[in-house]
């Protein structure tokens, strides 16, 4: 892999993954609301129409159900579609094609065909947008057999994982977060894949395992830096894939540190954090020195007012204080 030090933003890493795959594979195409509009999609779809035309880069009517179904149907007909929902909330119109159809397809048809589709949901929260422009639904999709769910936290991962997702023969729900779009890191210029289903130990540590993902990984890294200063050594795990969950990497880490904190941007009840906590209780109970701590959104819809938003969203300070509290006892 290239070791060049080119910095690239998260959104342009998405753009590069799409361009490079569309260049070599005619079956890849993109459809969704606003692929022509930076207001909708930032620069993730920059130049795609110019390079590949409106046949393969389709700005659609506001018809989430039919357009997502069309992506699924095109996949059944041998294409590799990427259906983009610039506000993930609107994809709830498309539960039928995503869950009834795509997720079940390979199983209910006895393996006769599969659905190589990427369903891309952009989380577009904050800015007093309120309940219907803010929902992070990764835990909800992770409940469904047959779906894969990815939520990369940085530009390097998102390029490699999006390429894997598009090439995956199964339906992949790709959830990104606009708060990550300007975040930069080193990204190789050539194509590469990061396998779906593999988490990453982002930082080794000995006192506590902290599992995080997507945008919250950035906040978690900052919190860990602060914790280090007061003598708490955190082992950071970036989930990268929400489903199928890389449980071994978590269990192995908990066996080493004896403590687990899960930082998860979904509501607390029945979230991926519940699942991770349950798995650790089932498979590493004897290693736990203290109860598992879950840092989630409160169980209420996303509020609009800035005062409420500040209370609602998870910050590095909140992560810091919750972890610090574990060591008080």
């Amino acid at each position: 892999m290239s070791t060049n030090n080119r910095k690239l933003s998260y959104s342009l890493a998405i753009n590069e993954a799409l361009k490079q795959l569309m260049e070599i594979d005619d079956s890849v195409f993109v459809l969704g609301q606003g692929v022509k509009s930076p207001w909708y999609v930032g620069n993730t779809c920059k130049d795609l129409i110019k390079l590949y035309g409106e046949e393969r880069v389709i700005d659609t009517p506001i018809s989430e159900n039919a357009m997502t179904g069309a992506a699924v149907g095109a996949a059944l007909a041998g294409m590799k579609p990427v259906i983009m929902h610039p506000r993930g909330d609107f994809a709830l119109y498309a539960f039928d094609p995503i869950i009834n159809q795509a997720a079940n397809w390979h199983y209910m048809n006895g393996g006769s065909s599969s659905v190589p589709v990427v369903i891309w949901l952009v989380v577009n929260r904050g800015g007093e947008q309120g309940a219907q422009h803010s929902q992070a639904l990764h835990s909800l999709f992770a409940h469904i057999p047959g779906l894969k769910v990815i939520a990369p936290s940085n530009a390097y991962d998102v390029k490699g994982m999006l390429i894997s997702a598009i090439n995956d023969p199964n339906p992949v729900v790709f959830i990104d977060d606009r708060w990550l779009y300007n975040n930069e890191c080193n990204v190789p210029t050539e194509m590469y894949e990061i396998p779906i289903g593999m988490a990453l130990v982002k930082q080794e540590g000995k006192d506590v395992t902290v599992v995080s993902s997507s945008y919250l990984m950035l906040e978690t890294i900052k919190a860990a830096e602060e914790l280090e200063k007061i003598g708490i050594s955190s082992e950071l795990i970036d989930l990268r894939t929400i489903k199928p969950l890389d449980k071994d990497i978590i269990i192995n880490s908990v066996k080493k540190t004896g403590r687990l904190v899960i930082v998860d941007g979904s509501w607390k009840t029945n979230s991926i954090s519940s699942e991770i906590s349950a798995i650790v209780n089932e498979e590493a109970f004897g290693s736990l020195k203290s109860p598992v701590v879950r840092i989630n959104l409160p169980n209420c819809p996303a509020p609009a007012a800035r005062t409420l938003e500040a209370e609602y969203y998870i910050t590095k300070d909140k992560i810091f204080s919750e972890i610090k509290n574990i060591f008080k006892h």
Binding site: A66, G73, L76, P81, M108, N109
Partner: protein
Amino acid sequence: MIIQSNIGSFGYIKKDNTCKTDIIDAYQFVNIIEDVFLRSHIKFYEMMKIKRNKDLLLKLHKTMLRIRLAEESLVEPIQQGIVKTPAHLYTGEEAIAAGVCANLTKKDYIFGNHRSHGHYLAKGGSLKKMIAEIFCKETGCSKGRGGSMHLIDPENGVLGIVPIVAGTISLALGASLASKIRKDNRVTVSFFGDGATGEGVLYEAMNFAALRKLPIIFACENNLYSTHLPIKEIRVNPNISETAIPFGIKSYQIDGNDVLITSNTAKEAVDYCRNGEGPVFIEFLTYRLRGHVGPDDNIQGTHTDIRPKEEIEFWQSKDPTHQIEKYLLEEKISSIEELELVYNQLNSEIAEAIKFAKESNFPNPKEVLKYVYK
């Protein structure tokens, strides 16, 4: 005996013969239906200038009868509890699947719904694999994971059959979009019922198909009942084909029980799509001769349906398999002996498929997790 020539002169529904005034209210929009049939038939007779294609006629007959006999062969195993999967029989609607699929190539795509045994067979799906699937056996087309309502045969263009009402309309839309992008000249047919017109995705799909001129046929099999509910209780305007007009889609409303008409109309529609003039909407007026699900024999007040006896009798007189037999005989295309030979051959083939299904194994319980992912 297969020949039951109890209908009037070919093609025409004579109001004074078949529609007695005292039962008119019991009929579903009977005046409209008769008008449609009349118009369909007049148009057809104009089209009769086309050369009569004996091979096609025999093929249509055979396809329809094969579907009918396959469906009816399931009645006994269902009643015995051997077949438990909900089987929505296509009996009475055979002229649509046969007429449409006769105009498709193997490479063309179809998508179906809960009542799609007929579509699967007409498009070339394996009878043995279908029956085995209905018996939920490992040898079925979906390896016993799907049952009656999840049939598939990608090699023959049967890309998907699922029971979520209107669920495959958007999938068909996507397959036709794939064809448009690849310029592969395929046509996709989406089969759905009148009940699906209550789902918003149909209108989203029609709009997008028209916008992109996609090679898709929206084939609405209007059997006048949305499960148990008569069409007049689900929509104000009974004329479903008109709903395509505001989208700028060419639309037809035709007699779905006459295979000569369904076939001719489908040919026109397929040609439009191949010429890049798609999409096309066809409303086929038809009727299921059994209940919504299972072998319900329409005895009033039982099982899944409460349908007027007179209405059922009216439609029995329009049985599509009888109509084609009568036509073949009257036009001296086939003799009774020839028709009986076909009947016997098909019955043997079906008996063999039933035997195969019965003797096949159920899926291994240890493989319950198999096929979640590819």
